[in-house]
């Protein structure tokens, strides 16, 4: 062992010996390229599982899995109409580990869409978007969009019926914006129908362009988390110690708080003799190695284990080869767009354009409206916040079926079948629900004088509606998009 480590080459590779004290570990964290994305010391609150549920890390791990499996899959896949589907069959029947590779890639992709969404929900409900993190929230929304696009572009590649018709439906939703919609669709597809050029475009976007964009945005996203002092935590924690969670008190008492080895100044840029980020409360911090690094490794393994187990149990779907003259009935978009497809079935303009645009803009503007930092890092902010979220959730879940029922009986299309499209656009479940959401959020704000509560009502309603419409689109819509029961 000594022979291996005590030579010039080893020392050139690892500048520091394996650390055996907290100070050494922190110095290693600081000087190692891969580790220095993590802080040398981390607040005990950030280590509590319930603080984040590890959702950001899970998303990142899934992305790593997707890159590794994706690169391996690329060796066995040619994006051409002649080859794509046959390559899927070969992956299944011929390529060593082809089945597990494809399954892991598929389920990790779905998992990442879900994890990124849940991460956003966590960040909202713990109020982690407040200044100075406003723009990181916007970046997060963009990353969510890129994740959806990555999944969507990958959806076409197997070139089976599921892929073909999901993309046909998905891209036709993209064509609903007036004036530019049709151009967007043609730009995406490289033609009027899903064909060879669409397959190539989706492939290039999927394996080169979108991953690159995602990596750059994610790097900025992580960097900003570090610069803003790590995971958002309650401001009060600077004054009061953490109760429960994190390392045990015996471990915490063993910690060592180092003074700076060398002091330096960044003249005119940073005050004091060492650059500091966020709120400094060294009393409650523990060395990242091992407390944070081991937790990261465990989450990494946990994701791998769950993903492999799921890939053993469930095979990624592969239907018959894409057949442009034989549409599936119903033809459904990928599940995360089924909510939008459901809205589109009421009104293409409102459901496919206005509501998604308003929702995205609304989401991005949340941190610019709700700027009060007093309850950051606390789930739901306060008991009142929790109550508001529950009420908003229950109301949304109840109001949507009621609206759908009313629409099926007294909707514009029932009462006045000949009425111009304008009236359907004006009055349909999607537009009514959006109005209700906006109004109740506004009223909550006016009544309680709390922007946080207003945002809570609006965001909870948005998440609930997204979930409810996705469930409806997935399980309750049959041929010709008529209402069916899941067991039918």
């Amino acid at each position: 062992m000594a022979k291996l480590t005590e030579n010039r080459f080893w020392r050139s590779l690892f500048r520091r010996p394996l650390p055996d004290s907290d100070l050494d570990r922190m110095l290693t964290m600081f000087s190692n390229f891969f580790l220095h994305i993590l802080p040398a010391k981390v607040h005990r609150h950030s280590l509590k599982p319930g603080a984040t549920w590890g959702l950001g890390v899970i998303s990142f791990v899934l992305f790593l899995v997707l890159i590794v499996t994706g690169v391996l899959l690329m060796f066995f896949y040619v994006p051409s109409v002649e080859r794509a589907y046959r390559d899927m069959k070969d992956l299944k029947y011929v390529v060593s580990y082809g089945v597990i590779l494809r399954n892991m890639h598929r389920w990790a992709a779905h998992g990442m869409v879900a994890a990124v969404f849940l991460h956003m929900v966590r960040v909202f409900f713990t109020g982690s978007y407040k200044p100075p993190r406003e723009f990181n929230w916007v970046l997060g929304i963009l990353l969510w969009g890129i994740t959806l696009l990555l999944s969507f572009t990958g959806y076409l590649l197997p070139w089976d019926q599921l892929a073909y018709w999901a993309i046909t439906v998905g891209t036709s939703i993209a064509s609903y914006p007036p004036w530019i919609g049709e151009k967007i669709r043609v730009l995406l597809l490289g033609g009027n129908i899903v064909g060879e050029s669409a397959l190539l475009r989706f492939y290039v976007l999927h394996v080169v362009f979108l991953p690159m964009v995602l990596m750059v945005l994610a790097a900025v996203h992580f960097w900003r988390v570090r610069k803003d002092g790590g995971i958002a935590r309650p401001i009060a924690l600077a004054l009061h110690p953490v109760a429960g969670g994190g390392p045990t008190s015996a471990e915490a008492t063993a910690r060592f708080v180092p003074g700076p080895l060398k002091t330096y100044t960044l003249v005119e840029l940073v005050r004091g003799t060492s650059p500091q980020v966020g709120i400094q409360a060294p009393e409650e911090e523990v060395p990242s190695w091992p407390h944070l690094t081991m937790r990261l490794l465990i989450v990494f393994e946990l994701v791998l284990v769950v993903l492999t187990a799921v890939s053993f149990l469930f095979d990624a779907p592969l239907l018959e080869q894409a057949n442009p003259v034989r549409p599936d009935n119903p033809a459904k978009a990928p599940w995360y767009f089924l909510g939008i497809q459901e809205l589109v079935s009421y009104s293409a303009l409102v459901g496919g354009v206005l509501v998604p645009a308003i929702a995205l803009l609304g989401l991005m503007s949340i941190p610019y409206m709700d700027r009060d930092r007093s309850d950051q890092g606390i789930w739901f902010g306060s008991p009142a916040g929790k109550r508001a979220a529950w009420i908003s959730f229950l109301l949304t879940v109840l109001v949507i079926p009621a609206l759908l029922f009313l629409d099926s009986r007294f909707g514009v299309r029932q009462v006045a079948p000949g009425a111009p499209q304008f009236f359907t656009d004006l009055l349909n479940p999607a537009s009514v629900l959006t109005t209700l959401m906006a109004v109740s959020s506004f009223l909550t704000w006016r009544a309680t004088r709390s922007r946080r509560l207003g945002a809570m009502v609006l965001f909870t309603a948005f998440v609930s509606a997204y979930l409810v419409f996705t469930v409806i689109g997935t399980y309750f819509r049959g041929p010709n998009w008529v209402w069916v029961w899941p067991w039918q």
Partner: protein, 432 residues
């Protein structure tokens, strides 16, 4: 030691276990079981020590027949190891030897070209059963039905003769060793199927056209069930039940319907083809100058505009404006605008035989492109209006019922519609 190190150690063990499990699962492929059986049988059949030693040395092998320049691969021989070994004529499946079919060697024709099934699969269920597909429909009364059907399953027993008919179009199936197919063809004529169904250029319009029925429905179980009880599979079907026919006759009819298909490019054997096969694939003589054919993918383009009264009325208006000059007020091709001895002469839309042959996509394409003195109307008449014109043209021929038994060549019309085999893969019809 810290609690967290213990947790990490435990998780690492689980991760490692799953990794090893995935190695095992991937190596434990279904076909290896059959290759083991093959080796054991070889050892049992060995006549001397040398043969025995050779048999014992037979290892796992990945094998496939590549057909039509690799456009199709058949991996059936992964399990059916002994198809060409005469010692295995009496062996149980999957190890039985295949009888020799004259001039159809395996290495050129593969297996699925005749037998159907998914040749790329190396698992029994997938290879033999094809893919189950489910299609939903809403009936006029609001009921929802889901129809299931298999895509390209194996053709069991005598139904494999359907494949003979797909290539040997002009030959009498009875004379090429396909008696069941021959019986099916005869039954199809005798039972008057042509009264309702069009095959090629001939037949009624009550039922769906069957020219490519074997392509649309490749599941023999579906077809058999449909003969017995059409309404159970096609709700509100007007077709009578044929369950009074015997099992054998229904099988024969199924074989014939399955044979009605355009031979896909990937089912054609690797070159060189035998002379008689070439003859069979040559289109029957059609007078070329009299016959203007749209490309296949254009022909198959579905009409997006329903033939509503408004559509037909609009088509009629446009017809009077742009077409009647040459094609005549009543569509007989006798308009005053055309030069006296124009060749080719303006089409006669009132000719039921000609119009029965025309597909809507083809008519649309011809209106769009034009030929000779007939201008293309792409720039003049908007897309939707051209489809309205097509809908109007459809109303011009008088409705006539073809007498049964007129089908001398069920595939006659296909000849003209065929493109060279190499183009078929490229022509992906659009328009939906």
């Amino acid at each position: 030691m810290l609690r967290i190190y213990r947790l990490f150690a435990l998780m690492s063990l689980i991760t490692l276990a799953l990794f090893l499990l995935s190695l095992w699962k991937d190596s434990n492929r279904e076909w290896k079981k059959y290759q083991d059986e093959y080796r054991n049988l070889l050892i049992a059949k060995a006549k001397d020590a040398d043969q025995r030693r050779a048999a014992e040395n037979v290892g796992y092998e990945f094998a496939q027949v590549s057909v039509a320049e690799g456009a199709r691969v058949d991996r059936c021989i992964m399990c059916h190891r002994a198809v060409e070994d005469p010692r295995f004529v009496d062996a149980p499946q999957p190890l039985r030897a295949h009888p020799k079919i004259p001039s159809h060697p395996f290495e050129r024709f593969g297996c699925t070209g005749c037998h159907g099934g998914d040749g790329s699969a190396t698992e029994v269920q997938a290879a033999h059963q094809g893919i189950q597909k489910k299609e939903g429909a809403v009936l006029p009364d609001g009921r929802i039905v889901y129809l299931t059907e298999r895509e390209e399953p194996l053709l069991p027993g005598n139904l494999v003769q359907a494949s003979c008919g797909s290539c040997h179009l002009t030959e009498d199936p009875g004379k090429i060793g396909a008696p069941v197919l021959s019986r099916g063809k005869t039954l199809f004529q005798e039972k008057g199927c042509i009264g309702c169904h069009r095959v090629g250029r001939i037949g009624g319009k009550v039922g769906p056209e069957l020219t490519f029925a074997g392509e649309k429905r490749s599941d023999p179980e579906w077809l058999l069930k449909h003969f017995r009880d059409p309404e159970s599979l096609v709700p509100d079907s007007a077709m009578p039940s044929y369950k009074n026919l015997g099992e054998e006759e229904l099988q024969a009819l199924t074989a014939f319907v399955l044979s009605l298909r355009e031979v896909p490019f990937t089912l054609i054997a690797s070159a060189p083809l035998q002379p008689q096969t070439v003859v069979a694939l040559t289109p029957p003589p059609v007078p070329r100058e009299a016959h203007w054919e749209a490309p296949r993918n254009e022909n198959l383009r579905p009409n997006p505009v329903p033939a509503s009264a408004e559509s037909v009325a609009n088509g009629k208006k446009l017809y009077g404006k742009y077409c009647a000059g040459c094609h005549g007020e009543s569509g007989k091709g006798d308009g005053p605008g055309a030069p006296k001895d124009l060749k080719p002469e303006p089409a006669n839309f009132a000719d039921p035989r000609m119009m029965a042959h025309e597909r809507e996509g083809g008519l649309y394409w011809k209106i769009t492109r034009g030929r000779g003195l007939m201008p293309g109307w792409e720039a003049t008449i908007p897309q939707k209006d051209r489809w309205d014109l097509v809908n109007f043209l459809r109303t011009l021929p008088p409705k006539v019922q073809m007498p049964p038994g007129m089908m001398e060549q069920p595939h006659g019309a296909m000849g003209g519609e065929k493109e060279p085999a190499g183009h078929m893969e490229e022509s992906r019809p659009g328009g939906h």
